[in-house]
Structures are given as structure tokens and as C-alpha cells.
């Protein structure tokens, strides 16, 4: 029987190599795979590229990876948040590279990678500094920027419930980037609050079908 559950967080992230690109779900403090991130910090792969909407706050989440010096580059729409001190410190000392991407373009580039598309024209960012150096085109009288698909080696995700096939549902606004990242990563690893039996999830309400998901780990309740 197909069972995508792994026994623990450490095992599920142990093969992330130095230099890997890693998508990390979440928006603000919602939908962040805190336990998987802690496991990556413990494993300690270096020279990571982290792709995430924010750069964490305080000492947890993406901030922890930054603090541990594991990250060379961040691809991100909003690295500046209350308490994003670790990112700001690295940025001000030129110790980290930042690729700033408008949030919708960031999500859409992931979707393009997950959907097997070679790129897309978007009006977002046209005529701004974030289109510098990019191919542009007038389409129906409107300026557009050509954006490329954005894939990653791994995605670290957070969901509410999973069944053994990796079908996922989320809780309220914790959904955010998690489903689209699941489609764009070669290996999608998810921490979930609950494992449920096959057939328990409403087939009309599954948000991430299991074929996008490679590994699932149950998060320990605090």
C-alpha cells in the first residue's frame, strides 16, 4: 500500500544537499513548516537558496536558517517584516543575495514550473526596477514582462491533515504558498497536524492531491 508518511522530521530532510534550492511555505507566521525547518537547521546543509514569501521573524522559521548561516540567497517578495532582524543583518553586510520578486509573480512562476510551462507574460512590474534586464513586450497595448518558471529541489510545507497518499487539506489562511510550492518542487516534504485514514478526506475538498507530495511527517503537538 502507498504510504508517504516518514517516521520523523530528521529523516525526511536528511538528503537535502549543500547548494540545494528549497521552497518554504507560509505567509507571515501562518502555514510555516517550523518543525521541518528546525530539522534542516540540525542537519546543516550549506549554501542553500531559499524561496519563500518572507524571511522569517525572530529566531524561528526562515530566520533560523539565516542565523545558522546556511543560506546564500533568498528569493522573496517581502523580506522586511516585524522582527526580520537576521535577514536585515545579513543584507546590510552583503552576506546574502536577494532576488526580489513581486508576490503574484513569485506564485505564478512556481505555478508555471509545476504546470510544465516555459514562462509567461505578466503586466506586473512593467516599467519598474523589478523588470530591469527582463524581456518585455506590448500585448494589446499594454506592457508585459516575460517571467520564467521557478522550480526547486525541495519544498518544505505545512498542512493541517494528510492521508497516506499525501492528499492534503489546510487550515484557513495557512494555505497560502503551500499548494503551489508542492507542485513546483522535485521533492515536496510536508509536516501535518494529523494523519487521517485513506477515504477520510472529502474528495471534493482535497486541496493538494497526493501526486504532488513525496513525504509527510506528523508534527508533534506542543
Amino acid at each position: 500500500m502507498i504510504d508517504k508518511f516518514w517516521p520523523d522530521m530528521a529523516a525526511a530532510v536528511a538528503d537535502i544537499p549543500d547548494g540545494a534550492s528549497v521552497m518554504i511555505g507560509g505567509f507571515g507566521s501562518s502555514g510555516i513548516p517550523f518543525a521541518l525547518i528546525d530539522a534542516v537547521c540540525a542537519a546543516g546543509p550549506r549554501h542553500l537558496t531559499v524561496i519563500s514569501n518572507n524571511t522569517g521573524s525572530g529566531e524561528t522559521g526562515v530566520s533560523a536558517l539565516l542565523r545558522e548561516g546556511l543560506v546564500d540567497k533568498v528569493v522573496c517578495s517581502y523580506p522586511r517584516s516585524r522582527g526580520s532582524v537576521w535577514f536585515e543583518r545579513l543584507y546590510q553586510t552583503n552576506a546574502i543575495e536577494l532576488e526580489l520578486v513581486p508576490q503574484g509573480t513569485l506564485a505564478e512562476r512556481m505555478r508555471a514550473a509545476g504546470a510544465g510551462l516555459g514562462g509567461f507574460f505578466t503586466p506586473t512590474g512593467y516599467g519598474t526596477a523589478l523588470a530591469d534586464g527582463k524581456e518585455t513586450r506590448m500585448i494589446d497595448g499594454r506592457g508585459h514582462v516575460l517571467e520564467s518558471p521557478l522550480a526547486a529541489d525541495y519544498a518544505l510545507l505545512s498542512a493541517y491533515k494528510a492521508d497516506p497518499w499525501g492528499n492534503l487539506v489546510y487550515n484557513t489562511a495557512a494555505r497560502n504558498f503551500n499548494p503551489v510550492m508542492a507542485t513546483a518542487a522535485r521533492c515536496a516534504v510536508v509536516e501535518v497536524g494529523d494523519r487521517v485514514a485513506l477515504g477520510t478526506l472529502d474528495p471534493e475538498a482535497v486541496v493538494s492531491p497526493g501526486l504532488f507530495i513525496d513525504r509527510v511527517v506528523v508534527r508533534e503537538q506542543p
Binding site: P79, L100, T128
Partner: protein, 216 residues
């Protein structure tokens, strides 16, 4: 010369008066969020939040049980109204970029005479730039209103011939609501029509703190 200026809440209320019943609206971080508190009674407005919510409701009361995952674009706790729903970021921005929101209300550093918007980056290179969903709203909402003070703290106009700060989008702003008046951008003529001058603000005084031509 000291001008009589609206308070933040008065500005928000003035803009709120112009939001039509039944509109789908995204309120930007900062001053725009306050607009929701001032929509006239009897008008139903559905608020969108970029992180995947349609039907954003009030903030939970202090001490009230709330879902820690349920936050808005400003990362503050919110609730969901009846009839609201959740979706992922890709779909949320499809709504924004695809012209499905009737209105976005954004804050701004500067707005130009042709409706260019600058609201995401300053000239400070040591501070990390952050853009979030601002560029998508600027190009995607059917209508973009800006809510901002008329001048910077030191009195420099924020309505300018040309923005000198990095742009968020070009030719995207329809109206600007400030603490001195309401202005309809006339892109073709690189000017603005004054919809309203608030009490005690003369046409001359208003023009003197505005960087492009106002038409009464």
C-alpha cells in the same frame, strides 16, 4: 502656512463614502486598512486579502478565542465573515491581476500626474526592499485609489509631475484621497481634477503644495 488637515480617520471615512455597495475590495497595509471601519452602514463590501482570503472580517477582540493561522496581509489576526472562503496564493493573485477586484486602496510615497505610483521602495540602500503584492494590485485591480497625506512631514509634495522614487506601476492610479482633498488623475493631460477641497483649504494653498497642475 498651516493648512487645516483631515485626521487619518477622517481621510479614511471620506474614501469609504465612495466605495459602492457589493464591491470586492483590497485594502493595502497601513492607512488603507482603516477604511473598513468607516464604510457607511447598509453597504456590503467584501474584502480580499492577498494571502488567500475573500471575506475578511473584523479583528478578534482582545481575549477572544481566535485561529492563529487566520491573519491578513499585514500579518494581523482577523476573522472570516459568513460567505467568505480561502484559496492559495496563486489563485489569490489571479484574482488581483485578472481584474476581478473592483477596487484596491493603496498607500503611497508619491503619485505622478499620469497616475504612476511609488509606494514600495525608498532610496535607502541599506534597508532591504520589499514589494509584496503592491505591483500586482497596481496593475490588476479595476480601479486603484491612493490614500495618503498630501505632503511629507517636511512639507514636500507627494503629488508630483514625475515620481523620483522607484515605481510600483505606471498609469495605474485613478484617484488620490489626501488630508486636503480628493483628486481624479487626468492621465492624458498630466494633471488632476479637484473633486473636493476640504473645508478651509483654498485653491491657491492646495496648488502650492501640489507638484502638478490642479484643475478645479
Amino acid at each position: 502656512m498651516s493648512l487645516p488637515r483631515l485626521t487619518t480617520h477622517e481621510m479614511a471615512a471620506r474614501l469609504a463614502a465612495d466605495i459602492p455597495d457589493g464591491a470586492y475590495v483590497n485594502l493595502g497595509i497601513g492607512m488603507p486598512v482603516i477604511v473598513a471601519n468607516h464604510v457607511p452602514a447598509g453597504r456590503q463590501v467584501i474584502y480580499h486579502s492577498e494571502n488567500g482570503i475573500l471575506g475578511v472580517g473584523r479583528s478578534p477582540e482582545p481575549g477572544e478565542d481566535h485561529d492563529p493561522d487566520l491573519i491578513n496581509a499585514a500579518k494581523d489576526p482577523v476573522t472570516l465573515i459568513e460567505g467568505g472562503c480561502y484559496f492559495d496564493t496563486a489563485e489569490s493573485f489571479a484574482m488581483m491581476r485578472g481584474g476581478h477586484l473592483d477596487l484596491a486602496v493603496l498607500g503611497a510615497f508619491q503619485v505622478s500626474a499620469t497616475g504612476d505610483l511609488a509606494n514600495w521602495a525608498t532610496h535607502d540602500a541599506t534597508y532591504p526592499p520589499a514589494v509584496g503584492g503592491a505591483m500586482d494590485l497596481a496593475v490588476g485591480a479595476r480601479t486603484v485609489y491612493v490614500l495618503m497625506r498630501h505632503t511629507t512631514k517636511d512639507g514636500t509634495p507627494k503629488l508630483l509631475e514625475t515620481c523620483d522614487l522607484p515605481l510600483t506601476g505606471t498609469a495605474c492610479v485613478s484617484r488620490v484621497y489626501t488630508d486636503l482633498g480628493v483628486f481624479e488623475i487626468d492621465r492624458d493631460n498630466a494633471s488632476a481634477h479637484v473633486i473636493e477641497r476640504f473645508a478651509g483649504v483654498s485653491a491657491h494653498a492646495l496648488q502650492s503644495v501640489t507638484g502638478f497642475k490642479l484643475v478645479e
